[in-house]
Symmetry: C2
Subunit: 542 residues, 2 copies
């Protein structure tokens, strides 16, 4: 086929062919796969690689994997990298894929990335399902359980959410959700809304863009009450402070969707494609995190690749006002300070914590931290010298960074590093509770099993690590993500059964929050990941 150029030379528009697709003819002579192998490699790429490298493979948390660079590396070297990982942060995949699958993935990334299709509001609406009619919603809980101490638990590789009773430690039910649910959020306890059923409805977002609504007042087998789909690939979801809207963010298409919180009917879709902080156009400008601003009628939407924090005013969807706050790339995940005014989010490729002031809808500060900050649910507490502080773990280094976060009463400490605590391994999640003397950090990113399987606990007063807890010793398992129960007396830690991820051989280990001793093991869970205690999440102070 003839190579064509978009060159309007007579107008002085000497411009080359756009990358997308148009170079496919060239790649005909390059590495190829059978249609079946291509689809399978594409599926594997979507499930395990796209999160860091992007479906268009332009790179983000991971490196650029476009054919130009990949063809230079070549089949053999790529196979090795995929199998064994790199020191730069790439995981090893020889425990998940066999040799042939790895070889096909290596070939796949030397081929032109297929551009996935768009998704219209009409297409989304075609997925909207009502499992329980609104008129049939119960007016009080249909079970005798203490639902405010329920834990909603992501069972990642099962495509399920488990409801676990915090009082009895029993699994109430497993609910079918989207693939690899990433986040689950409930209605929060905002000042405008003191309804007694706050925390009753929970919303899940699958990596496949599927959104599910869970009603904790229902009989266990009927808790899944509605469903829709807002993207092919997605990561985060939030509920408006007034409980009216649910918002979810897409990785592909790069957009966010505002839905009716009652029916999940998609109402509004807004593209996040745009320009990064350097002024380069990003087609795959993915929504990394979405939160509800506790004090404003606004959502906070973090667009990973453009480094833009969008403050989205949901009070008028037809005349939608968005403030695009310039910060740094690549935005990932964050958490509010206890006042609810400041949102603290990791810009991991910039090694910064970005702070947004939601009252004035503007950038408050950027704090320099260490390699690849990742706070997960984050942690706020009070330090004896710095006053109110926030803290984060890092994907790139075994370190907890702690900064002052009360600019009103402690301006001289605010948004400056207060202290750092070295841990044995790089981690993903940090957590504490207002009643607790301790801060917990996991070490999931450390390659050695004994570290990956341990979490570390440090004392808020002495700032020293007081205990290293080996949560599991079983091969192929890892410890991650802590959550306190309603009264703060227990800490729940997940154990991933990464190697045996088709079976419910994962567990949650429950520790006494004061003695740090093991209290219970909740078995029968498949790759339990994020856990959300109803009471804690509707009263977020830590």
């Amino acid at each position: 086929m003839k190579k064509v150029k978009y060159g309007l030379s007579a107008l002085g528009l000497a411009i080359g062919m756009a990358a997308t697709g148009m170079s496919m003819s060239v790649s005909a002579a390059k590495p190829t796969l059978s249609e079946a192998d291509f689809e399978k490699a594409q599926l594997h790429y979507f499930q395990r690689c796209a999160g860091c490298h992007g479906v268009l493979r332009k790179g983000a948390t991971g490196k650029n994997l476009e054919p130009k660079a990949m063809l230079k590396k070549g089949q053999k070297r790529l196979e090795k990298i995929i199998a064994l990982g790199t020191e730069g942060g790439m995981n090893n995949f020889d425990d998940l894929f066999n040799k042939q699958e790895i070889a096909n993935l290596a070939t796949f990334i030397q081929m032109t990335p297929p551009v996935p299709p768009e998704m219209s509001l009409e297409q989304m609406r075609s997925h909207t399902k009502e499992y329980v009619a609104l008129k049939d919603y119960p007016t009080k809980p249909l079970h005798g359980l203490n639902w405010k101490n329920f834990f909603v638990v992501i069972e990642r590789d099962a495509g399920k959410a488990a409801i676990v009773d915090g009082d009895t430690k029993k699994i109430v039910t497993h609910i079918n959700t989207g693939y690899a649910v990433h986040v689950i959020k409930g209605t929060e306890h905002h000042k405008k809304d003191h309804a007694k059923d706050v925390g009753r409805f929970w919303y899940t977002i699958g990596r496949d863009g599927k959104v599910n609504k869970i009603d904790l007042w229902q009989k266990p087998e009927k808790m899944l009450v509605a469903e829709t789909k807002m993207a092919y690939d997605a990561r985060d979801i939030a509920v408006s402070g007034d409980g009216k809207y649910v918002i979810a963010g897409g990785y592909w298409p790069a957009h966010f969707v505002i839905m009716d919180a009652e029916t999940l009917n998609p109402l509004k879709v807004v593209s996040t494609r745009g320009y990064n902080t350097k002024g380069e156009f990003i087609n795959e400008a993915r929504v990394a995190a979405i939160y509800t601003a506790p004090n404003e009628s606004a959502f906070i939407v973090a667009v990973k690749e453009t480094g833009k924090m969008l403050q989205v005013d949901y009070s008028d969807l037809d005349n939608l006002t968005i403030t695009a706050i310039e910060s740094a790339e690549f935005l990932h995940d964050g958490f509010f300070d206890p006042s609810g005014r400041y949102f603290q989010i990791a810009a991991n490729a910039s090694n910064k914590m970005v702070v947004v002031d939601t009252k004035d809808a503007k950038l408050e500060k950027m704090i320099e931290v260490d390699s690849l900050p990742h706070p997960g649910p984050g942690a706020n507490w009070v330090d004896k010298e710095c006053g109110p502080v926030g803290g984060t773990t890092h994907l790139g280094v075994g370190l907890v960074s702690v900064w002052g976060n009360d600019p009103i009463n402690r301006p001289e400490q605010a948004w400056k590093l207060c202290y750092e605590v070295e841990t044995d391994g790089a981690g993903v999640f940090i957590r504490t509770h207002e009643t607790s003397d301790y801060v917990w950090a996991d070490q999931l990113k450390h390659p050695e099993p004994e570290v990956q399987q341990s979490v570390q606990v440090f004392d808020k007063k002495t700032r020293e690590i007081v205990k290293t807890i080996r949560v599991t010793e079983e091969p192929g398992k890892a410890a991650l993500h802590m959550e306190f129960n309603a009264d703060g007396s227990e800490v729940w830690v997940s154990v991933w059964n990464r190697k045996d991820n088709k079976n419910p051989t994962g567990e949650i280990v429950v520790y006494d929050a004061k003695t740090l001793k093991e209290k219970a093991r909740i078995k029968g869970l498949t790759t339990p990941t994020g856990k959300f205690n109803v009471y804690n999440r509707i009263n977020h102070k830590t």
Copy 2:
């Protein structure tokens, strides 16, 4: 080449291949052109077709011209349509292109549209040029002329702007600008800014995205003082009320760019790609019109294909707040009411005038009008029964529609049709002046020369046409676009030399605004189009 599919069937993502580029392999057996002919047809398409049909040929004002539909029509039929036009509004092009060029265009539109590249802020900045240093700007006019009665005149097909002295009717200079300048705007007389040099600087936007800054205080040969380029294809430009910023809107890439008004250095680029009112993603979401809101620190950006009016607050570029006001497709051009609060814009494919309230940043009203409204610079005046009114011509019908536009004092008439005036032919521009008894409308879209070459004048009191003025009788010429001089005593009408567009054989005909009699002919202009009187444009009341 193998056809690949983006089908993640295991996840239930049964989704087809994206249209862009990926189907090129299929078109190898389809109509082709040599590389040289392809480039030439592409250039012709860009110059004459893309405005209505889009570079990606998805259609807007014009029909969808993607290969699927075009292959069905076939070479012969397409050649005929291009040569002779259609009753649906397609122009004839047999006077502009020869038979071979028409044949190649017919083939070109059966081939896959090449996707033009993006343009980064850095690329734009590489085009920024200073012709006169800021420190060398004069502190008073360097000529003895009455610059406030200058007319800045677009010489479309010459890629020039002429400065014409309204007092002497002499051409002061021709300034080299971008290709086919579409709009020129000066600083306006806003309440916050009563500087004596308001109206001194003018900014042009070429269809090639070139932006030029003109200083009317300079010596004629030095009036071009700065330049940049913000897109490959563009249409509109505006200056902020405080004179600090210039904003221009791209057709491709679909974005707007805010520049420093002193140096033209591009500061900020914002993508306009997004979803239309039906919730479908539009990659080619073009900026049709950009205006400065006289009473707010805001630009109004009309995105044609998405039907979104963006109110862009320019008071903080780092935390940029934009309200996306949902209206109707396809937005085209508009004008403010005399109070400066309401912006009235044509949504031509919906046969509506959309009214935006810039004080509250929300949709005020949509007024049903006739086929394809197009007000150009628009006209506001006072009607004896309806009070303050606005009016528009239509591309699709010989009709002026007039509506009440004072919701504060005349709420019962506001945003309702007051009356209509039938003209002999469909037109593009309407204009009046506060001192004039008359409203002028052109008839550029009428196919017959005698109508196309005439403008019609109606009386504001009687609402009746009082005169039809044959502006030119020369073959291949057409009359269009009226502008009053500073004191409102004259009306200037352009005469396009469409057939002889390489030579300065166009003219401006000047009429006495009271007697409606011809006063003068200003010759030596190439396809004179829009004309902007300095005084009138900085004091827009009509």
